[in-house]
């Protein structure tokens, strides 16, 4: 107890300092006003609503599937950046780097496991999130456009996972991408040009690896961040999550 009082006093002292006040511009979040300021006065939180309905916080309302998808994206970004430190997008260095991760880099296997696992989990979570939103009727007005943004995020998630699949440059990666990119070739008229653009040639080789690497590490994550921000911001702009009215008959 004594420590709690001591730390509280220290915190209060820190809050009074000029530096703290220059950063936060609000008092402790004890009133609804300062709690609102804590959300819309914060760059990353301000896309969220200041108030939410109690019902939308029930676990059954969301199962936190959207949050889980987002947190998996965060985990993937962190582990992905760490993996980039050990990776060369070149043939056959890429595969050698995988072996290094397993045998040389401290906790390299763990890092790769975490990235791979989170990637698979994210695909599952995003699909599950979409189906759950559908069954809850979350696509209905005024949430129409956010549903479309969500479908876009599903596609970005799939492409992120798919482009990452090639990077280890092992047999599994090479042939999985071969199967996938062969399908693109069947698109009428545009199929072959698109495939050429994606692979940087007619076969999966050095150019394809580099292009998939850039897509996986730069272009698609940027697209995901923009879409995620829009997706979150839209929840607030569309008046919060869909909550079922108790007056309506359920089931």
């Amino acid at each position: 107890m004594a420590t709690t009082v001591w730390t509280q006093r220290l915190l209060e002292q820190v809050r009074k300092t000029r530096v703290w006040r220059s950063i936060f511009r609000r008092g402790p979040a004890r009133t609804n006003r300062t709690r609102s300021l804590a959300v819309f006065g914060n760059l990353s939180l301000h896309v969220l609503p200041v108030k939410v309905r109690e019902k939308s916080l029930r676990v059954r309302a969301t199962y936190y599937l959207g949050s889980i998808s987002f947190f998996l994206f965060v985990v993937l970004t962190v582990t992905g950046i760490l993996l980039m430190l050990y990776y060369h997008p070149a043939v056959p260095d890429a595969y050698r780097d995988m072996k290094d991760l397993v045998y040389v880099v401290a906790n390299g296997t763990f890092l790769r496991n975490l990235h791979r696992l989170a990637a698979q989990a994210m695909v599952v979570a995003v699909f599950w999130h979409m189906f759950h939103v559908f069954y809850r009727g979350g696509y209905k007005p005024p949430h129409e456009f956010n549903w479309v943004v969500g479908v876009g995020l599903l596609l970005v998630t799939l492409f992120l996972s798919y482009t990452g699949y090639l990077l280890p440059w092992d047999q599994l990666a090479f042939w999985a991408i071969t199967v996938g990119t062969n399908i693109i070739g069947y698109v009428p008229l545009l199929g072959r040009p698109i495939r050429f653009l994606l692979l940087g040639g007619h076969i999966i080789g050095q150019n394809a690896l580099l292009r998939f690497y850039v897509l996986h590490c730069v272009i698609l994550p940027l697209a995901a961040v923009v879409l995620i921000a829009e997706h979150f911001w839209r929840i607030q702009k569309d008046g919060g999550l869909t909550v079922r009215d108790d007056n309506e008959r359920e089931e």
Binding site: K51, V52, L57, F71, P92, F110, D170, W175, D245
Partner: protein
């Protein structure tokens, strides 16, 4: 965690100072107000705290799994050595399974494009905003349309011998017909099925087919995309 505002709210008796709200109800509208959605909570701290807990649990589960499960790593890529079967990532194996039955332009291009377009237009078709169960009104007409669509789909799938699409289709259609023939369904399960809407059935059918195709593609397909039992 109750939150009280520091100010009091009450009714003013001075109508000049505090204007009252008056409702005008025009023709063809109702005075129905939006249902009470219950109390509200401040995002900070209630949402932030919960999200923090979710993030912690998720991280713990991921780390625990990553310690015991190893990401696959095969031999160095060799364009001259084709594995049999060569499989796409698991989330595309449903499509690869379709490729086994239908020409590539259908399975690889047409169907995925249609799925994405269908998903995107869902909210704009105003599908069943009222949430009316499938078999509530004009039952006979709907049954005829339903059976017509089902038979057409059945014949199409049977011609292409797409069994792994056909089986879940038949199962979902059978489930959808259960509440039709049992209007005063006794069990809870049948009552649940009775209250389902058409979009619910379509989405459930889609998920059933997608899950079946992905499972079959992942576990039950061997060399030359032949049927194998995963436990043998």
């Amino acid at each position: 965690m109750s939150e009280k505002n520091s100010y009091e709210v009450g009714f003013s008796s001075d109508a000049m100072k505090e204007p009252r709200r008056i409702v005008f109800i025009t023709r063809n509208t109702s005075a129905k107000v939006k249902g009470d959605v219950g109390p509200q909570l401040m995002s900070y701290p209630h949402v932030i705290l919960r999200e923090g807990i979710v993030f912690q649990i998720l991280t713990i589960v991921l780390v625990a799994l990553a310690l015991f499960w190893d990401a696959p790593l095969e031999q160095l890529a060799n364009p001259l050595l084709t594995p049999n079967p060569a499989k796409a990532p698991w989330y595309f194996l449903g499509l690869q399974e379709l490729l086994h039955y239908f020409p590539p332009i259908v399975a690889g291009v047409l169907i995925p494009t249609l799925v994405v377009v269908a998903l995107m237009v869902i909210p704009y078709f105003g599908v069943n905003i009222q949430g009316e169960p499938l078999w509530r009104h004009s039952r006979r007409t709907r049954l005829q349309i339903f059976l017509g669509a089902f038979v057409a789909l059945f014949v199409f799938l049977a011609v292409y011998q797409a069994w792994t699409v056909l089986v879940p289709t038949v199962l979902v259609a059978a489930l959808a017909l259960v509440p039709y023939f049992q209007p005063s369904g006794p069990s809870r399960f049948v009552r649940y099925l009775m209250s389902r809407t058409l979009p619910w059935w379509v989405m459930t059918w889609f998920i059933a087919v997608a899950l079946t195709l992905t499972t079959v593609g992942t576990f039950f397909r061997g060399p030359g995309w032949s049927w194998v039992w995963p436990w043998r």
